[in-house]
Amino acid sequence: MTNAPTDAPGPSRQSPWRQIGILYGRELRAALREKMIVINSILIPVFLYPFLLWVAFTGLMFVMGQTEGFTSRVVVRQPPREHSGLSKRLETNPQIQLLATRAPVAALREQIKEGSLDLLVEFLPPRQPGAALPGNFEVRLAFDQSKERSVEARGRVNDIVEQYRADWLKREARRRGVADSAWQGFTLSSHNVASRKEMGAFILGLLAPVIFVVMVAMGCFYPAVDAIAGERERQTWETLMSSAASRLNIVAAKYLYVVTLGGLAGILNLLAVILTLRPVFAPLLSRTGRVLECSVPLAAIPVAVLAAVLLAGFVAAGMMIFASFARTFKEGQAMVTPFYMLILVPVVFLQAPGIKSSLLLAIVPIVNVTLMLRDALSGHFVWPPALLTVFVSLAAILLSLKLAAFIIQFEDVVMGSYNGSLAKFIRQRVCRRPPPPKPS
């Protein structure tokens, strides 16, 4: 019998893009019906972080309000007679309750540690006897830094003592015929030159990029695991592999799908944070008398979209590489989680003061995109690092895809033979390749 191709009239060859489009559509349609993916890639980015920020700041306000409502329990030891005015101020302050006790100092300190007392005020002779004038004294405040009430009591008493000291100096200077301007020499005042808009951009630039990275990673996480390990667990992997789609197109469609959901999560989250920043921060800023204006420069929008695509492109490729070794969703989660944690590490360093876009930082993946986004949201466009960031990110994505292509050439990886063990793959395939099969 001859074996010349006898193609059937029905099925025809398709263009790769058409195949990818069909596969991509299927992935997306199925994903948007999956509760876990919708929650993690859409609902959490939109609601969770704005909600968390709101809860955090509202909680902070509440705690601050509660602390202000406390009466500080204070014991004062040996107040100087010459400064009875100070004692009076302490006695008449409604937020301070002076306790009368003869307990020794050590016992009082124990009470502070236990929390039954907030502060011990000791009036001591000055440490430099030679320099001391009659009536001089040192105030020592014993408190517990680990207790909010104690810290608050210390602040209150500290303010009263400082105010008393300033008033006393002023009074004494006048009594001796010295004008305030003569003895004060200079005064200190500060003025914030940043506009409301700039303050808004500053806070947005501080918060949004960090949450953005977390959200893009979270947006990629479940789709990446689901697209490979989930498919194996549901036993649909073999069904797909026996279809006429090429392996490369299958992987490309899955990759595009993960990038889409990761990027979508990032952009939705960014929008949500921008829209909710003002109401979230309003209670905090109202205490300081400041007002925020949260607006994003128009030019920042394409930069944000580009940042989402670049970041999702890199994160998706990395996560899919790890997920490709897993056979079940659980294994996939275990494989991808360390990578997820790893990509969040550089973001922590961005919180250090003084970190700015530079050509050097533009070559560090994730950090570079985050800085580019931060600059754009703040209205600063530093083009050389931004261009380098795009170039480096594309190179990192290409490299990751190359690595993925290298890994999926192994049949046993495609079939999920490594049970979620990267070590097993490295041991068998990289370190100690099995000998070639003997001819039959």
Binding site: P5, P11, S12, Q19, S417
Partner: protein, 268 residues
């Protein structure tokens, strides 16, 4: 007329950490004729699934070659898959798609011309009685309903060759009988079918020719009548045992680990 499926000296070895090289399929050769049900009969782990996975281009042969509709499985896998419908007990459907979406997806991804997709999907929905639940998601369907959708999925692109790898595993008697009837109908339509099973009665009832596979090797391949004549046994069960015993008796001492378990450790 050329053979729709032609397999020559097909071999597959796997590497296993604990056992070294494992030969799952060993020098297997056979041909399938048009409009024939070709049975691959073997015990669990005999090498049936690995052979069929190589034909479906899911696995690459270590040596030997096979063609499907004239296309080489190793060199032209996409063309092979376009001409093939593959179904096994481990090929599941997407739970979050509806039955209609499933058929539509597999018709299009397998290259059925766009203008034929809707008509083909609807005709299969009618043929397999899927209409009442065509809009329901797969995960809401019963096992029997899923099975019908799975069969329709396998043939939606109208391939000339069909592979059914233990298709009745896990099915109740009625569903299994229905599956057998459908496979017989496909033969009547002129399709070439490779049917793998370890259930003797199924093979006896359905297959035009039967290959007995044991420890990765084919020990007999003929019509049931000829196998009966060759062995002097009537029942396929006895015929199968005859060849397995013969193979065991003839087996030479082989290197440690070889041929013990036909599948690789992770490819069952």
């Amino acid at each position: 007329m050329s053979a729709p499926v032609s397999v020559h000296n097909l071999t597959k070895t796997f590497y296993d950490e604990s056992r070294g090289q494992v030969r799952a399929v060993d020098d297997v050769s056979f041909e399938c004729r048009p409009a024939e049900i070709f049975g691959l009969l073997g015990a669990n782990g005999a090498g049936k699934t690995t052979t069929l996975r190589m034909l479906a281009t899911i696995l690459k042969p270590t040596s030997g070659h096979a063609t499907l509709m004239g296309y080489d499985v190793a060199n032209d896998p996409e063309r092979v898959r376009r001409n093939l419908g593959f179904s096994s007990s481990t090929t599941a459907l997407y739970p979050r798609l509806t039955a209609r979406e499933t058929l539509d997806f597999f018709a299009r991804i397998n290259g059925l011309p766009e203008d034929r997709v809707a008509e083909r999907v609807e005709s299969l929905i009618r043929r397999f009685g899927i209409a009442s639940y065509a809009g329901a998601r797969i995960d809401k369907l019963s096992q029997g309903m899923k099975q019908k959708v799975a069969i329709a999925r396998t043939v939606v692109h109208d391939p000339p060759v069909l592979i059914f790898d233990e298709p009745t595993v896990g099915l109740d008697v009625l569903n299994a009988l229905e599956m057998q009837q459908v496979i017989a109908e496909f033969r009547a339509e002129g399709k070439t079918i490779i049917f793998s099973t370890h259930i003797m009665s199924e093979a006896e009832k359905l297959c035009d020719r039967i290959a007995i596979i044991h420890q990765g090797r084919i020990h007999a391949c003929d019509t049931l009548a000829n196998l009966r004549t060759a062995t002097g046994q009537h029942y396929l069960e006895n015929i199968f045992v005859h060849f397995v015993q013969q193979a065991t008796a003839n087996a030479q001492p082989s290197p440690a680990g070889a041929n013990l378990e036909a599948h690789g450790p992770d490819l069952t």
